[in-house]
Amino acid sequence: MDTFEPVIVAFCCHYCAYTAADMAGTMRYSYPPNVYIIRVPCSGKVDALHIMKAFQKGADGVYVAGCLEGDCHFKTGNIKAAHMVAYLKGLLDEIGIGAERLEMFTMSAGMGERFARIATDFTERIRKLGPNPAKAGSDKTDKVAVG
């Protein structure tokens, strides 16, 4: 298990989390390379489906990072995201993947150091949890273009 390198997808909102991630770079706060950032305009844009697919395609952990409570550039996006994440945690438990593989974080654009710390801590959390038990060979869905 000590050779296990988790793959973590971080959906980051453009205005705060993604900027904080850049800030971490500017400040040279290092964090594990396991975290892959996908930029979204607002954490509220993160679709439950994106998260599920991330896990299905093989993510060992996923987190959504948005602005601080009350600071959302789009008023309520981060709150909606938090609710969605809470709901999805339930589903992940149902599947048996485990709610703790998914998390919601908030930070301001200036918090490069916080971004790095969260990335580090979350990576450690997932490393301890071990690989996603439902890691897919490949996504076997095919959406049929009708209807």
Binding site: D22, R28, K45, H50, G58, K135
Partner: protein
């Protein structure tokens, strides 16, 4: 060139192509003004382009600067004349007749491709002059040099024909002549920069004699990826990596000795710290660093924190001492420094492998000529003289100054002054009727809908920033093998003008229809690359940036191989997702040109007046009952100017200006919209009635608070006051002051402490100011100043010296051993340590003045930060978009900042930033429309179930169910958050640019590896 006369009739001349000159020129250009930018060097960039990285972010900031150099608007408004100087000028009626002389480059700019063949074959003929080794890899000053062309020194050329032949582009013009050019200008901006003090005459340092002693700038070149050693740290004598390096501060500055300048050069402390940190960053424990200094002058925004990190995180040794000599350690190339710590200890000798001299700035002789020609007065230090409350206005109307030529300073202040100067110049040009910004014509967009994706991948090395950690050519090969990738190339500094042109060309030649850039953050560079592919005939939204710098190499410094794998992943993710991108249409709305200025202090009023004079409508919102802010309580400046007189006039002009509506007792309560379309809600007046203001731009000038910590009996004993109190007391109670015998001043009260770690910047000069005025009133007074570092930067140093001369006693104290204060009837007893004689001193004083400085108005800034969604620094000041290059712009587009809301500063500095904010605002207001971008939600009516979930979810109430019974989203109203798309249960809504399949594709791309 001859076409000039008819092409322009109303333009500005910017002299000096350094960072300041470039900024001023760009601001003018963005503001729709025409500019001629001249520099005597073969390419622009000035000092900064020779730096490896800049503090406090330790970036190579070229990559933040060069995009601007390459901005499309540029060519339209800026004519760049290198190798050019002003030879003659005369002015009448606010117009300047100027003669410019352009020396021959012997190379045809339009032809030279900078292939380097000329240099390969005839190195001696190619001009190159930056510091240290005069043969950098390319003979251009920096890789993305503008213009991207060589320059020949014909004098040195023996065989002109041969030289002509080696040039494949046959760009060589052997008989190139010097050109004289007569032009008229409405305004002139001086940004000629300064030169560095030459340490040679200061024999004690042995510079020029001992090989391993270099100047700070030379050391920057050694560290620089584009430098002579390609960024490898080796010392000149034996090309070995030094293990122990020393910096010596104030070399040639703060000294009245022959060959020195008496003022403080302001930037050296920080650049030495930066060089030391960067060195440590790269060699961790493999290297020792020590800095010899007199006072650590880290008084800029958050610089104090930088100093803390240098000491604590990087373990850089700081030695408070001015070394007496540097000599060769016998039998080696090593150097031994002799220095003393305190009066009563013997001198110490210590050996180092390498010594770096932090030499300061001076004004070069040829600038005196320039000043004469223009009739611009200079001060005693030969810097351009400016008005006390007109920081960038020279003695000559219509001529402005910015950067080092005004006073020694760091890059952010230079940028502020550049924007301020541009703002002043715009005004002069306005009077002549603003020249319309010509519409830029783009080639028609190619229809790629029928084509299979042909993706071009371009990977930046960004100098050390990327290539320093990972092998970019490996990335290039890797990307080349990815499906649908037609072209994969490395492009060095991808954001350099030349690379951009190259990318554009490749797109056209290879018929690419999608582009991926492996580089830095899309946040900063997306628009630039969008612009580039647009020029190549592609829709802007067919490009994707893989952030392999800010979010890879910069954060995985210690794990090169992982970083390299990750870079591949990120590029692959970008490729798979860009393949699914498709052309998008942008939405455009008319621009609201009114301005909201928040805060009615000096900075706010200055900005408001500048804009109002420019013909814009300004709403000036002040939360208190009257205008003026802190300055209303200040009586005199360090230079002795009457602040109140100035304030009276400023407030009058503001309140009476027909274009300014002043709203006092007003509070901002809500805010929505985007640049050019803001709506801000206020509660106004004693009755707090609610009103809304529509505006296009917002300027924050909310100021700071005079700090008043409960320390040293402040507000408990009437003999204890702040410097601000004393400033007024001096004027109002001269008689009392006459009776005083002793006055003690304590510096850094409530600053540079755990509660407020930063330096308040203004306290040292206000202490000096008050000390001198005390002595003017009562020469008998004995004044004691208890300080930690005297931070009288720039010309303030003169007053510091005068204070010493006039008998003011200065004692340094350590924070852990601060003075003890107790009441003695109407007097106060102060006990402190004399660090030099190392004994305790007790003074019973008539007045104890505390230098308490400024702190952010926590409540205010917190509320506003919340309402406007602006980030703040840890100590509550607003955080600008880029601490180095965009000190006036806030991260939220359409927001600018001025004055002490940004960080503590003097009135002069606040005025400058106020003017700068006004200038920056005008660059935005010059546009008639605002682009809403294409990131809007689109509904597929086929799929829509009219469930209303989007209608209810939208934070801005945009979606509605239309007559046809499905959800409709007005692109002009959509803010592009995508919440509706996420919540739609029928997946009928897609957010353009972030469509589900694109996000899924990123995931696919990411997990292909794992698969």
């Amino acid at each position: 060139m001859e076409t000039y006369e008819d092409k322009y009739n109303n333009r500005a001349l910017v002299i000096g192509g350094g960072i300041g000159g470039i900024k001023a020129a760009l601001d003018l250009a963005e503001g729709g003004k025409n500019v001629v930018l001249i520099d005597k060097a073969p390419s622009i960039g000035g000092l900064m382009t020779q730096l490896d990285r800049t503090f406090p972010t330790n970036n190579c900031d070229l990559c933040t600067l060069s995009p601007h150099l390459a901005e499309s608007g540029r060519e339209l408004h800026i004519d760049l004349l290198t190798l050019t100087e002003l030879v003659d000028a005369d002015s009448e009626g606010g117009k300047f007749k100027v003669t410019l002389k352009t020396s021959p480059r012997f190379i045809d700019l339009s032809r030279c491709t900078a292939c380097g063949d000329c240099f390969k074959n005839f190195p001696e003929c190619v001009r190159f002059t930056p510091g240290l080794d005069h043969r950098a890899p390319t003979c251009m000053r920096y890789p993305q040099s503008t213009p991207y062309a060589y320059s020949i020194d014909m004098a040195k050329c023996k065989d002109v024909d041969a030289l002509g032949k080696v040039c494949p582009a046959n760009a060589i013009i052997p008989d190139d002549k010097e050109k004289l050019l007569e032009l008229e200008f409405g305004s002139i901006i001086l940004a000629p920069g300064a030169e560095l003090v030459d340490p040679r005459p200061l024999e004690v340092y042995g510079y020029g004699v001992l090989p391993n002693i270099v100047t700070g700038l030379e050391y920057e070149r050694i560290l620089s990826a584009s430098g002579p050693t390609l960024g490898e740290l080796i010392r000149p004598s034996d090309k070995k990596q030094p293990k122990k390096i020393a910096w010596i501060q104030c070399v040639g500055s703060r000294s009245v000795k022959e060959g020195c300048v008496s003022y403080c050069s302001s930037a050296c402390c920080m650049y030495a710290l930066k060089e030391a940190i960067v060195t440590k960053e790269r060699f961790q424990n493999d290297i020792e660093t020590a800095i010899f200094y007199m006072d650590m002058r880290t008084s800029g925004k958050d610089y104090e924190l930088y100093l803390q990190r240098a000491k604590e995180e990087y373990g850089i040794r700081l030695v408070r001492s001015r070394p007496e000599s540097v000599e060769r350690e016998p039998g080696t190339d090593n150097l031994s420094i002799t220095y003393t710590i305190t009066e009563n200890t013997l001198p110490v000798r210590e050996n180092f492998d390498m010594v770096i001299l932090s030499n300061g700035f001076r004004i070069s002789d040829d600038l005196i000529g320039l000043a004469e020609k223009l009739g611009v007065e200079l001060n005693e230090h030969r810097f351009a003289k400016t008005g006390a409350f007109e920081p960038v206005a020279t003695s000559k109307h219509g001529i402005y100054v910015c950067g080092l030529f005004e006073a020694p300073k760091d890059i952010p202040e230079t940028m502020v002054q550049a924007s301020a100067a541009a703002c002043m110049a715009m005004e002069d040009l306005q009077s002549e009727g603003a020249s319309k910004k010509p519409e830029e014509e783009f080639p028609p967009e190619r229809d790629v809908s029928k084509e299979e994706p042909r993706i071009g991948v371009f990977v930046c090395d960004c100098g050390y920033n990327i290539a320093g950690l990972i092998n970019t050519s490996e990335m290039v090969d890797y990307a080349g093998k990815l499906p649908q990738v037609a072209v994969s190339e490395g492009v060095g500094y991808g954001c350099s003008r030349e690379s951009l042109e190259h990318i554009q060309q490749v797109i056209q030649e290879e018929k690419l229809n999608r582009v991926v850039i492996g580089g830095c953050s899309p946040r900063t560079h997306e628009t630039l690359f969008q612009d580039t592919i647009r020029k190549a005939g592609l829709n802007k939204y067919l490009v994707e940036i893989a952030n392999i710098r800010d979010q890879d190499t910069w954060v995985h410094l210690d794990r090169a191989s992982e970083a390299s794998d990750k870079a591949k992943d990120l590029i692959r993710m970008a490729v798979t997702s860009v393949a699914l991108s498709h052309p998008l249409k942008e939405h455009v709305l008319p621009m609201n040109k009114d301005i909201l200025v928040v805060g009615g202090g000096v900075a706010g009023m200055t900005a408001a007046l500048k804009l109002a004079d420019g013909g814009f409508k300004v709403y000036l919102v002040e939360k208190s009952g009257e205008l003026g802010g802190i300055a209303r309580t200040i009586r005199k400046t360090l230079e002795g100017e009457d602040v109140q007189h100035f304030m009276k006039d400023l407030i009058e002009r503001t309140t009476n200006h027909k274009n300014i509506q002043v709203l006092t007792k007003s509070m901002i309560v809500d805010h929505t919209g985007m640049p050019g379309l803001f709506t801000t809600g206020l509660q106004v007046g004693p009755r707090m009635f609610y009103r809304q203001i529509k505006h296009g731009v917002t300027i924050l000038a909310t100021g700071a608070l005079a700090n008043r910590p409960r320390e040293y009996l402040l507000d408990e004993h009437e003999a204890v006051m702040t410097q601000l109190d004393l400033d007024g007391f001096l004027e109002d109670h001269k008689d009392k002051v006459k009776a005083w015998k002793k006055v003690v001043m304590i510096q850094c009260v409530g600053s540079r402490c755990p509660e407020n770690p930063n330096c308040s910047r203004i306290c040292c000069q206000s202490a000096i100011k008050n000390a001198l005025r005390l002595l003017d009133i009562n020469p008998e007074i004995q004044i004691y100043v208890l300080y930690r570092d005297m931070r009288t930067y720039g010309f303030q140093e003169d007053f510091y010296r005068e204070a010493r001369k006039r008998g003011v006693l200065f004692f340094r104290y350590e924070p852990d051993d601060s003075p003890k204060v107790s009441g003695r009837n109407e007097r106060v007893e102060v006990i402190f340590k004399d660090p030099i004689l190392n004994r305790e001193i007790t003074v019973t004083t008539d007045c104890l003045a505390l230098s308490t400085g400024l702190v952010a108005d926590e409540e205010d800034t917190e509320d506003l930060a919340m309402i406007f969604h602006l980030p703040r620094t840890s100590d509550g000041f607003f955080l600008e978009d880029h601490v180095k290059l965009r000190p006036v712009d806030l991260p939220v587009p359409g927001f600018f900042i001025a004055g002490t809301a940004h960080s503590p500063k003097t009135i002069r500095e606040s005025i400058a930033q106020g003017q700068a904010a006004a200038g920056r605002a005008q660059t935005l207001l010059a546009r008639d429309t605002i682009n809403l971008g294409a990131t809007v939600a689109r509904v597929d009516s086929e799929k829509c179930a009219a469930c209303l979930i989007c209608v209810r979810a939208c934070p801005f109430d945009v979606p509605f169910i239309n007559a046809d019974g499905y959800s409709e989203i007005d692109p002009a109203k959509c803010h592009g958050c995508g919440i509706c798309a996420a919540e739609c249960p029928a997946k009928a809504i897609q957010l353009m640019q972030y469509e589900d399949d694109q996000i899924m594709a990123k995931l696919d791309g990411l997990f292909e590896r794992i698969a």
